[in-house]
Symmetry: C2
Subunit: 348 residues, 2 copies
């Protein structure tokens, strides 16, 4: 017999993109940064390591909060550091959505959101994007038990964004908090950070995994009004971030020159890649993230995904019921993308 | 207005022991190890750092699981690695206990357990230890909605243990899973690991924070039968342990000579400390952990706690309603403990 709650038993569980631990792969499937993090990160971690690990870390990651405060112009009390921005998503679900209540998300979008509702024993409701990846007022409509909405912006898999003005409109109509998941925002032209000052219903989460090339470090953070942050602090594990990741993350956001340079390289590669995908007959969506969503109007793409995989090139194949399928290809280095597209050209 | 679930709003939140980030303190309040971790840990972390952090870590910490498997004689599928053993406690609460259902814990014990029930919107029930720190059958009795029991063994603040035989008896009577929290077990003479093979109701959690001097790294793990581990995997964040902590933790448990030596030093200091506390009129409980619980039959101890704090010596003052108060003093180095006890002697 099982002692698990029924909602856990019924759940297949979220399966993240493949992370092969051995073998040489060109890995374009989980939106990692192809470049190494700022050298300042390793220096800061080495110093923290020399100071010893026998003490508990700072429960609130004060050093990071202060640096982020100076960088973004929010007082530290408006910022909570987390073990990856995945932890933000889990915390807000647990904070706002009770059993049987409703969580809203756009579709197609980050598959994890739905799993988080299921883990909580809550319901979820998907609101489809329009054909041009805009989001109608239906996303903001009242509904029985609606307690939280997730909005990835830029969205995955599309890489598209809603404008801050549109996000504010939706938030103001919504009867519940809106978590704007900005994991990819450093590759976009706009962001929603300033909206946090306008409404205590708006939370904005960030991640160091993609833009700062620190997926292995697990560090995220969320901006919200201080009473909202204080509520989330109650829920998090006492020491959710370790001493090394706090040191590394603080050094990472301190090196904005590194970010600007890496961002420019990735955006340039993204442009070349989009153009070449188009020349292969794909219908790539103009992306503001570090990946490109590439459906093909005339050809099944699953065999292409499999052919790439046979040649040790991993991309993500996604098939959204009622929407169609495509390849989501992370922006790697120019060399990686050339290798990927050369193989694709041969497979087609 | 608040958008938080009512159980979150009503909650004061768990307050961990003080972690002063500046100033020179003798820190005997949060059961940290006074010694530095094995040098193998820093070497392994440095190597992982050189390999880069741009990739996501192994979601299941396979390297750690395999090393733990060899060390403890359990297949890897019986082990789950977590972001500190606090994450185990949160995961099992979310896995087994629904809203309004019941979580059982002994009293006095780790205060966090009750907070976890409250965060989940669940009820909790405290069963008092007997005067000799044994635990009656009442702890195993059926009750409406009972879905999980926590048993810290060694217990905090007492440092006492129940024998594996007694734990098995309780587990067999219980209608729900029993999480045996062995955060302090490396300082004890017995442990309950083998019980996991006897019953899928028994889970045993461990921590590297105390015995391996790695509180700053955040690494814990839990043993349970494979179908139970598989259920917990569904609940955890995809990448709950970072690449550096996986490398460091694997190296830490690989250095059993370091553990044996450190353990011997701490147990020797614990013995001296217990004797001297007794000579000061305290009634210290014989501890199998890296702290000593010291009530005083004849004198209020809160002023002693405050006097120590004024002299930059932090211990934990705890006052359990219906049970009494005392000082919980972590086992430091001989020098730290002498300094603490010299001040105590002067204050009395």
């Amino acid at each position: 017999m099982s002692y698990f709650r029924p909602n856990i038993d019924q759940l297949a569980g979220y399966v993240p993109g493949e992370q092969p631990q051995v073998g040489k792969f060109i890995k374009l499937n989980t939106n990692e940064n192809p470049y190494r993090a700022s050298p300042a990160v390793a220096r800061a971690i080495t110093t923290a390591l020399e100071n010893g690990l026998q003490r508990y870390p700072d429960p609130l990651a004060t050093a990071f909060r202060q640096r982020a405060s100076a960088l973004y112009g929010f007082p530290p009390e408006w910022i909570l550091a987390t073990n990856g921005s995945d932890e933000v998503l889990t915390l807000v679900t647990r904070a706002f959505v009770g059993e049987g209540e409703l969580l809203r998300l756009p579709y197609p979008s980050y598959i994890l959101y739905k799993t988080l509702a299921e883990l909580q024993g809550a319901r979820s409701e998907e609101i489809a994007f329009e054909g041009d990846w805009s989001l109608g007022d239906k996303f903001a409509a009242a509904a029985q038990g609606l307690k939280l909405a997730f909005l990835p912006n830029p969205n995955s898999p599309s890489g598209t964004v809603l404008s801050p003005e549109r996000v504010l409109e939706l938030a103001e109509q919504l009867p519940c908090p809106l978590l704007v998941d900005e994991a990819y925002v450093d590759f976009a032209e706009t962001n929603c950070l300033e909206l946090v000052k306008r409404s205590d219903k708006i939370l904005v989460s960030r991640s160091l995994s993609k833009s700062y090339a620190l997926a292995g470090l697990r560090f995220g953070y969320v901006f919200a009004q201080p009473h909202v942050i204080a509520g989330l602090v109650k829920l998090k594990d006492s020491y959710n971030c370790d001493a090394l990741s706090i040191a590394g993350a603080t050094a990472a956001i301190d090196d904005q020159a590194w970010l600007a340079e890496t961002r420019a390289k990735i955006i340039a590669t993204r442009g070349r890649m989009t153009e070449r995908l188009r020349s292969l007959g794909f219908a790539p969506v103009e992306s503001q993230a570090n990946f490109v969503w590439a459906p093909h109007p005339a050809q099944p793409v699953k065999p292409l995904f499999e052919g790439l995989k046979q040649r040790q090139i991993l991309v993500r194949y996604m098939n959204y019921a009622g929407w169609g399928d495509g390849l989501r290809i992370s922006v790697g280095t120019d060399e990686q993308i050339d290798a990927c597209l050369d193989v694709l050209a041969k497979l087609m």
